[in-house]
Symmetry: D2
Subunit: 406 residues, 4 copies
């Protein structure tokens, strides 16, 4: 890869990616372009500008962007249309942020004439895969540099020594080993490693940063209403909101009521199991609400097909195949189903859980006339059931007649 | 169906099935055999004996059986091995009880020389389908009588008048219209109809019979441990238990902590949507525990295949196809995966929710050596990731090279 | 259904539907509107006009239409995009014609103020289901009359006697029992019943009407080239053609070379098995060609997803759910995959079989540079394979280490 | 991997694997154990013994085995029970042989105290993946050496020079470049590369080794009967045969009639497309026969589930995951379905194609009584169809009533 001249780095402004920036320059002899995105991780991104400047990066090569609305509108909400949960539970908070970052990295590479992108993900995790598959899918000729797979700064001590030797400021709280590792964006915060590595040990309370403990949550339940149009959330308690604003508000509600903690041992794409603690306060509420509005607006055929496709869809996102034909095909099917997913869902928040308690829709398929225990005025002819059952049974009867075995 | 002489009735001892018994005798001229099962519905079944005798049914034609262990061991647990949830949430409490009842009805028909079975399910619901498909699958020549689809006693008033005209005792509390309808067994209680028919209205607290309100649940969390062998629960807090005993104990824990309420609008097999309130206290806890132990003992390939097969499997049970080749094929695949699903799961119960907080297994596939952020002593070579990503990306790159479009 | 006044009948002009028309008028007291479609069944449709007039139907209520282009363009080709085959082999020739007929029946009902539609399918087959599901999906209030499920003209003798008693001309060749029953359209001819009812007996040669026997086919192979754009056939041997023209030409080629005979025992939606002989000369060639062009233009992810979705898609069409949300969702996914399915396929026709022998595309994903056994100039790094295999193997190794069993 | 002392090599006796054996010894300093299997590739395996001896390998380290029966019984037949076809057409002839070879390599490694296995597959293909995934799944600690990914003998000239420099006999016909590459076993012969690399060019006749050209096949059709028990072939024309014998006989029949040629552009697991020509004479006939016997013996539910699972199952085998939990789970489901797949199928072989013309079974589910166009004596009540259709339509009608759009 000797032909690389310039590289776009996913740069947080933190110690690790600062070391990477310097390492790319000094050890690899590259010009570095930095890209710092506000994905709602809850940290200021402007300080990254000064840090990049301090490393001698020219202003035109420092990209700092607020992509929160794009993130929620074009990635999070489409994913929630599918009711996606990886391995039954994980709402894919980390997975869904990576394609957007890669897309911007590649676009900036094109704008700045860079040949490569670089990221700070390790060689053991899923994120390297997600970053790189996305980048390759968007530009087949892009080069990727993953310093953690290459360098020898594999101990904390070595990394800090290298930083100091290269005039990178090392904050005091970064000198020791962190007791766990985190990733955050508007959808979730994940924590893993170190104190979380024994899956039998309960997660210590200090690991949580996005939610109060259910035990500390308010003693009074809170009711909220979320409005949907075409399968996407558009309002909270009757107030219209942009996607990122809605998720931000739901995060605050979830935080307050201790909602959205998930302790999971999951299967990484690279082949090992890992244990993570996820906090997805707003997303957990939103996911319940979305299913709630689908309950009254989706036809059974559409709903069941979605349920059958979902595990595959979630796996694709988890594995990093957002920009793949098969994810886009599934998305096309899912999106078609959402045309009439309109209405309002009522949720009760209380002590660590969100409970769906009501849903209504101008496009409801629920027919009280049909389901009622009262006189249905001929809406439904109970005699039809006999033929329905008889013909559904026919093949089973032919089978039983043949086998006479049970 | 003029050839029917004797019929086996699924008899609860309640007013409705008592009317059915008498109706079968007087209007259809049949000898009635009654089958009353203790499935854990929480009512005494012995009173059904006296009621049956009072209608002149000979003792040899009165079957009263405790089938709780069989129910949990042969139906509930196999279903939970699949992590089955219908439409994302429903734990199939009613659906899973019907095949067992049908199986006994058919067996008793064979024992007593009866030609037919009868049940008290209406023509609008799923239960008629489940009863009848199961029966036909077990005996292709059996006849089925479903009085609710045939008779004209469709109003409460008419039913009660008919009962009184035929010397059937009508309890005072059955004279008025019940505000909703219920079904119960060891796994759950379902409620639907009447006051629940508007899916926007929150379920009134008086509907719940199996759980305290989360708001009234204890202020202290409670930790429990559930032990698993080959995918089935075998112990609670270290104490070995039979299947039904374990589920009974978990029900008591769930009831106390307000766990397992589900407000659902679902799609019936007969084509309409209905709104139900389910209480599945022990099952809800058990389901979380089972996924927890699978997290450390199932290989990814097995886990993901299970997740993809699950919606189909759940639909089959919901629709009444328990005794079908395809359900049995899926069960064979699922059961094979459970060989090493052994270990213990730790759960925190609190205010309406069960939180998985730890899991351990003598057959764990979780490898701290591989996943650790520390030195892994060569267990995992980070260089492998590059080739892994490159070849996963190859087809995407060829595609991007062709399309150059994004 | 006493409120029905006017009914639109799917009318072939043949004896059976003429009897139905008269029966609807005389026995049910209805005004009859006739719809006769040229779907490529190979019979003149104009004679139906005179026959309808002879029964006193006014000209404005006689609909006679050539729908061949619509049939192939909007039904057959979309279905072939999915490579749909029911139960592994059946190209769904009958199934795919029914939705179009129902759609026109419903539209004509709306145009003529009719309340109902009627068809001549029996109560044992799939076609009644397909006609009726389509109609109900397009107009929830439409009524359906299926005389074969209602009347008592169940023997041939009775039907002919009734026809003669009602002044309906009975052609000589319809007086006896036909040795089998057929359905035909531009895609196929199906034959079933009577002489075909024993699935062990070889189909007599006289049953075939659309193909010569492979044994009688030319001794010289014939090479053809089919051009595709966006997944649909657009040319034959370099000559641009409309959908129906292309299929017609392929039918002639298939007929000549004895291609497209299929002897199948299939599972009907109504629960029984039936044995059919299908002749799909052009469709068989087209299906092979479509797969051929996909081989070089579809990405693996798209191709495999299509293959996994196909059985479900084919089942939906077979069962009559063309106009269902889930079929439309699958179609959306499939259609998205066809954007670049452009190019030309070369086929050899010979003695009953079509052999794919070449394919080329301006959008080919086939890369000789990558696959070559020669020096690939760095297109592919064989070292990548090691990491690819190692990480794919990791979970299997962890499993083997746990189990040490084989 | 410096700790390796002894390696078991998949040894054909040919030039390439002879070079590998010598290279392992001289360049890597290893003791080589050879394993040569008769998988029905049509070459003598005994000559490999002399060649191995000539390289100084002691007799106890020369393994030569006829594994044809095991191959067909434990790999080919189980796969055909699934009707497995990769990408719609490929009968997986190469894929299915690799797991067996790997299994023996690992077992011999254990018997001989070897630490590693080696194979002669290149770094571009699927076979390396299949060999290695199988080996790792069977022994997590086994080492794998793949010389083609490591050495620099990448041109034919270099390889031959190295062979001659190391006293390895180079047959005259191996001196030039072969015009294509082949792999053969009892199930098939595959050819790829060089003259086959342009997917638009028709395969030259000289590539074919297992079948006569359809154009040269006999002018008379030949009828055969294949008997099945529990889903596996057991006889030909009434004569009982072992699995390998049956397949051998079918191969001869297929060869004679030019059956089983497949020209395919397929998607390799490593990410590129390749074009192959497969000849699977007996397997092609067998696959048609197996579907034929399933048509009358499998229930629809089982058959459709099998069809839906098949693409995944085939992909697993193609990708090398024979020894994986998910393949074994699918196999368990499939095998359960085959319990009553007994009977006889009649096939006509003619000029390049095999035509199913009849099937019969003592366990047939085909009911002439139900399907007949004649009086069915009450076996089927056509009235049942109305209710069946009505309830299947209900959801679609509710949807149409909501949308009123088409």
């Amino acid at each position: 890869m000797s032909e690389i001249k310039r590289v776009v780095l996913a740069y947080s402004g933190g110690l690790d990616t600062s070391v990477i920036a310097k390492w790319l320059e000094t050890e690899r002899g590259l010009e570095v372009v930095t890209f710092t995105a506000d994905l709602g991780q809850g940290e200021e991104i402007e300080p990254a500008r000064e840090k990049a400047r301090a490393m001698g990066i020219p202003d035109k090569h420092i990209y700092i962007e607020d992509v929160r609305e794009e993130f929620v509108r074009d990635y999070v909400f489409p994913m929630f249309r599918a009711n996606a949960r990886y391995e039954g539970d994980y709402l894919l908070g980390t997975s869904i942020a990576r394609p957007l970052i890669s897309k911007r990295l590649v676009e900036i590479a094109h704008e700045t004439g860079a040949d490569a992108i670089a990221h700070g993900a390790t060689g053991k995790g899923n994120d390297q895969v997600r970053f790189e598959l996305s980048a390759y899918a968007l530009d087949p000729d892009i080069k990727v540099i993953a310093p953690w797979r290459e360098w020898d700064l594999t101990s904390r001590t070595a990394l800090i020594a290298w930083a100091e030797a290269h005039q990178i400021a090392v904050p005091k709280d970064k000198r020791g080993e962190a007791p766990f590792s985190t990733d955050a964006n508007l959808l979730h915060t994940s924590s893993e490693g170190k104190v979380l590595e024994d899956p039998w040990e309960e997660t210590p309370e200090y690991v949580f940063s996005r939610t109060v403990s259910p035990l500390e949550a308010p003693d009074e339940p809170e009711y909220i209403e979320i409005g949907f149009e075409k399968g996407d959330g558009v309002s909270l308690n009757g107030k219209a909101m942009s996607p990122a604003t809605l998720l931000t508000e739901l995060n605050e509600l979830g935080r307050k009521h201790g909602i959205g903690r998930l302790d999971l041992v999951e299967n990484r794409f690279v082949g090992m199991k890992s244990r993570g603690m996820y906090e997805t306060p707003g997303g957990t509420i939103y996911a319940i609400a979305h299913r709630g509005i689908e309950q009254v607006t989706l036809d059974r055929g559409a709903a069941h097909l979605k349920d059958e496709l979902m595990p595959r869809y979630a796996e694709l996102i988890y594995n990093g195949f957002w920009f793949s034909p098969e994810r886009e095909m599934l998305q096309a099917a899912i999106d078609l189903s959402q045309e009439k997913v309109n209405g309002t869902v009522r949720i009760m928040l209380y002590k660590g859980a969100a409970h769906l308690v009501g849903r209504k829709s101008p496009n409801s398929l629920y027919s009280e006339a049909h389901v009622t225990f009262e006189d249905d005025a001929g809406a439904y002819d109970q005699q039809d059931a006999e033929g329905f059952i008889k013909l559904n049974a026919l093949r089973l009867r032919l089978l039983a007649a043949r086998d006479r075995k049970r």
